[in-house]
């Protein structure tokens, strides 16, 4: 049941991406409405798949949240990230009407969900201490929420850079009319970056607890952790520059882009080491399974 729901959700996300991308070329208002509705439908089904997983958990709590299918176990982190990004975007869209960002978010969601299909959690050797670890649950949700916020900030930064380039060149292209004002993109992107930083801080702090519990080392030397710390440091520097020196606009957009790419490196580190994915995802979603 959960697997079917998540598959339909993925189809809805893909259809939303198609609607938004078509809107970029042919600006029909109904395409925006369709894209928004499809994202919402996808999100509801996606959350439904989590709920279905929970209902099957048989007292294992969050242990089996997800898709109820072995093929999906390893990709649950990505799935959670996709759902958090869509939810964040829909909340933003409700407040600011940002269909052009929807084109990015829907495409990003599909791109994130596809690895969720591909990654298989074959090895799930979990330290018994992590079976019901609160730190792990907080870590995973904070990581997903932080990445989602930064993904949205990244999308807005790209929009900012595109809009700024067109304004500076004095040759506004066809997409120019669809772009929101630079001030709005900058403001919303800044808020999202701050939230992303806060969640990332929580994810790193709880991650070290999890690592301590599982391997005995609070700060293991690995690409995943290294990228996460670098992203965190960059975002901290960016926030400081904005608050103290008043940096904004292009500089800030470039820093957010760099910060998000470092975070992508963290996930690439996860993908490069499937057993890590398993240890993070399977521990949260399927403890007790061999």
């Amino acid at each position: 049941m959960a697997t079917i729901l998540v598959h339909i959700a993925l189809l809805a996300y893909a259809a939303a991406a198609a609607a938004y991308l078509t809107w970029l070329v042919r600006p029909r208002e109904w395409l925006v409405h369709a894209g928004r509705a499809l994202l919402l439908v996808g999100l509801v089904l996606h959350l439904g798949s989590f709920a279905a997983g929970l209902s099957l958990s048989q007292g294992e709590g969050l242990a089996r949240v997800g898709f109820g299918s072995d093929a999906w176990k390893g990709g649950q982190l990505f799935s959670l990230l996709a759902a958090a990004t869509v939810a964040g975007y829909l909340a933003l869209d409700l407040r600011y009407r940002l269909p052009v960002a929807g084109a990015f978010v829907a495409t990003f969601t599909v791109a994130v969900m596809v690895p969720a299909h591909l990654v298989h959690g074959g090895t799930r050797a979990i330290a018994p201490a992590l079976t019901h670890s609160t730190a792990l649950a907080v870590h995973v949700f904070a990581a997903a929420a932080g990445t989602a916020a930064l993904a949205l900030a990244f999308a807005l930064s790209l929009l900012y850079l595109a809009g700024e380039k067109q304004l500076k060149s004095k040759h506004p292209g066809r997409l120019f009319a669809r772009l929101p004002s630079l001030e709005l993109i900058d403001r919303v992107g800044w808020h999202l970056s701050v939230w992303g930083f806060v969640f990332l801080s929580v994810a790193i702090a709880t991650g070290s607890f999890v690592s301590q519990e599982s391997s005995g080392s609070a700060f293991p030397i690995a690409p995943k952790e290294g990228f996460a710390i670098l992203a965190w440091a960059l975002l901290a520097g960016m926030i400081q520059a904005r608050l103290v020196a008043g940096w904004r606009g292009r500089r800030l957009a470039l820093l957010v882009v760099a910060g998000f790419l470092l975070l992508v490196g963290t996930y690439a580190g996860l993908l490069a080491a499937p057993q890590k994915v398993a240890s993070a995802a399977a521990a949260l979603f399927a403890p007790g399974r061999s």
Partner: protein
């Protein structure tokens, strides 16, 4: 057969020097409309007078009424005026309302002007149901054109492009300060537009303080000294320059200095002067955007081109809406034929039932009811086919053939002739087939 007429001229036929002589003021309008009503053969009329056109749309008994309308416009107008009949007049009305015939294609004012002209004609008792119906269809087509195409998107005048760009940089202008340096007319216009767009403060700087004060009054701003320019640049979000200075008064160095003090808040500099007042090099600075006359004109031209590209799609929508209007009109025309056909058949059936009942002698209520039901059922079954066909074909030649075949009197036309704008028929059935006066052939 009543016809739709359009008599008049627009910017396409005559220059502004002629149009300004012909323009009809709001005060004159009721008198002109009253005069139109009295013209022989004119049933309904509406006068559309804008800075780009003077046109009369009318529903008349015959095409010959156009000559009277032309004479009424006066000799000067008659020299240049164009007369359109029926389908041409209808297409013209739809295109005018959709802003496809405007000087600036896609401009928004024309819809309001058409609505206003209609309201005035109604107030004067010159406009009736037929013209109202066709105007409503034209306005609905115009709405579709505006929402489904990009014909109205993008500013096309220098001052509105400046405002559009300011919105693109700064978003909502409320709480923003606009600095107007110099007294150029275009800069004043842009400052007013920015103020109307939400800018909360307009600061006016000029070499002479008296000139600054006079200008500040005109644009509802505050006069400030030009010597305070660096401090003013720290405060303002949009700067409009149009002085006669021969050298740039806003240099890249000056902007670079104030930028840090502004904490990199975006600054939009608009240079409407020749020679330029703002160093174009300032555009290279972060969060600073410099637009001069050429830049604004380039954007305006690009927007105009974009609008032109949308014209074909807009024309297609207009054609679709005209077809829909024609279909609806024909459907309405079929309804009276159906009603009379059914009425006639039912009357025959009722008469036959009464005759049969009198021949059969005393019957109880149930038996009488059965006979009446049987007669009703025969009528329904007999007319089911023709009714479906007439509705399906939406009237037209089939409705005429049915009327001819069943000997249905076209009483509607006589009734309609008596209905002027002030004697409005209550329903379509009451109006009869000839009541909807516009003779559209229903192109598909």
């Amino acid at each position: 057969m009543p016809v739709l007429l359009c008599v008049g001229l627009s910017h396409k036929q005559v220059p502004i020097a002629v149009r300004e002589q012909l323009a009809v003021s709001v005060e004159e309008l009721p008198g002109r409309l009253a005069r139109l009503r009295t013209l022989p053969g004119v049933r309904e009329a509406m006068l559309l007078s804008t800075c780009n056109r003077l046109e009369v749309f009318a529903v008349a008994e015959a095409r010959t009424a156009a000559d009277d309308l032309l004479r009424d416009l006066g000799n000067l107008a008659a020299e240049h005026a164009i007369t359109r009949f029926e389908d041409d007049a209808l297409l013209h009305l739809f295109r005018v309302t959709a802003s496809l015939d405007s000087m600036v294609v896609g401009e928004a004012q024309i819809q309001g002007q058409v609505k206003e002209a209609h309201a005035r004609a109604q107030e004067a008792g010159a406009c009736g149901a037929a013209l109202t119906r066709v105007l409503s269809a034209a306005l609905s087509a115009a709405k579709r054109v505006r929402t489904e195409t990009a014909i109205a998107r993008g500013a096309v005048s220098i001052s509105s492009v400046a405002v559009q760009m300011a919105h693109k940089v700064l978003g909502d202008l409320s709480g923003r300060a606009v600095l107007l340096v110099g007294a150029g007319e275009m800069a004043q216009l842009a400052a007013r537009e920015l103020h109307a767009g939400g800018a909360s403060q307009v600061l006016v700087a000029n070499r002479s303080s008296s000139a600054a004060e006079a200008l500040a009054k005109e644009v509802s701003g505050i006069a400030v000294g030009l010597q305070e320019l660096p401090a003013l640049l720290e405060r303002a979000d949009v700067v409009l320059c149009s002085t006669a200075a021969q050298q740039p008064i806003v240099t890249r160095e000056l902007v670079g200095r104030v930028l840090k003090a502004r904490r990199y808040r975006p600054l939009f500099l608009i240079d409407l002067a020749l020679p330029r007042n703002i160093d174009p090099g300032a555009n290279a600075l972060e969060n600073v955007y410099v637009y001069d006359l050429d830049d604004l004109e380039r954007v305006a031209a690009q927007n105009r081109e974009l609008r032109e590209q949308e014209v074909q799609r807009a024309e297609a929508i207009v054609r679709e809406e005209i077809t829909a209007y024609a279909r609806a009109k024909q459907e309405r025309a079929a309804v009276p034929v159906l009603a009379r056909l059914r009425q006639q058949a039912q009357a025959l059936a009722d008469a036959e039932v009464e005759r049969t009942l009198s021949l059969l002698g005393p019957l109880n209520d149930r038996q009488q009811k059965s006979i009446r039901s049987m007669a009703g059922a025969i009528v329904n079954k007999l007319l089911h086919g023709p009714t479906a066909r007439l509705r399906g074909e939406q009237g037209g030649p089939l409705a005429d053939a049915a009327a001819e075949l069943f000997g249905i009197q076209d009483a509607g036309q006589d009734a309609d002739a008596a209905h002027g704008p002030s004697a409005e028929p209550a329903t379509d059935a009451e109006r009869g087939p000839g009541a909807d006066v516009l003779p559209i052939t229903g192109r598909k």
